[in-house]
Subunit: 148 residues, 2 copies
């Protein structure tokens, strides 16, 4: 359904389809009471959870394990003023179950640079929202997160 201000709210399955197209998104969290944002590569689990693979000693893991985070990905064409943005909001947790870790080693995201002690982080797809921008409309004031 197209609204009259030039964006279309995306269904969950559309959000997940778009997310699957891109290799990199951004983890948004709180750090020392300030908003923080970090680009990461990722993949999607079968249930729509966002999967990251990182060093067990990474600052990212310490920052987000057990917290609610937002994961955002987008593609915006500044020439045509069109594109999409999808946000997955949910709890981030390090995968500690050995069988699950082993499964993700096979099916999860690849590591751009392997580290000796890697962990997987799942961001639960508790809230999956997204909007598609229709060409020629502004991004300004248009809440692409869909959480109006």
């Amino acid at each position: 359904m197209y609204s009259n201000d030039g964006f279309r709210e995306l269904e969950r399955h559309e959000c997940l389809r778009l997310l699957a197209k891109v290799p990199v998104g951004r983890i948004v969290h709180t750090r020392q009471a300030l908003p923080a944002v970090l680009p990461v590569n990722f993949s999607l689990d079968h249930d729509g959870a966002v999967l990251l693979r990182t060093s067990a000693a990474s600052e990212l893991v310490r920052a987000i394990d057990g917290s609610v985070v937002a994961f955002e990905a987008d593609e915006v064409d500044a020439l045509t003023h069109s594109g999409w943005s999808v946000v997955v909001t949910g709890s981030a947790t390090v995968v500690t179950d050995p069988a699950e870790h082993e499964r993700l080693t096979r099916t999860g995201p690849s590591s751009w640079v392997p580290s000796p002690q890697e962990v997987f982080v799942r961001v639960e797809p508790e809230l999956v929202t997204g909007r598609e921008l229709v060409g020629g409309r502004s991004l300004y004031g248009v809440d692409l997160t869909g959480a109006t």
Copy 2:
């Protein structure tokens, strides 16, 4: 200076030079106690402040006016595993001074779609951090915000 984990911390002037190259970034803020992230187009003021132009009635304005937000932009090449990310953290305020509003009407960001009542929002460049990724290194666990 290159660190030994494949990224280089960017100087403030490098961050601002990179920001000036891209038309779209993301406003990160808190919304109903949850992290929220919204792509927006922008320009930079002479002092490095991030300038947005939006409808006075927009939900974005209500959400961020008077708050500390992070503004992030990045370019990441998933093939070469290289790129950069810059974050400007600071207070977001609607420009209310008429002379300043008039100046920004001439020199500030253009509106992708004009609205009858537009306002400018400044994000003060209180903290400007960034990192450049050197090709072949992972994004995982590398804090691109520079705020280690």
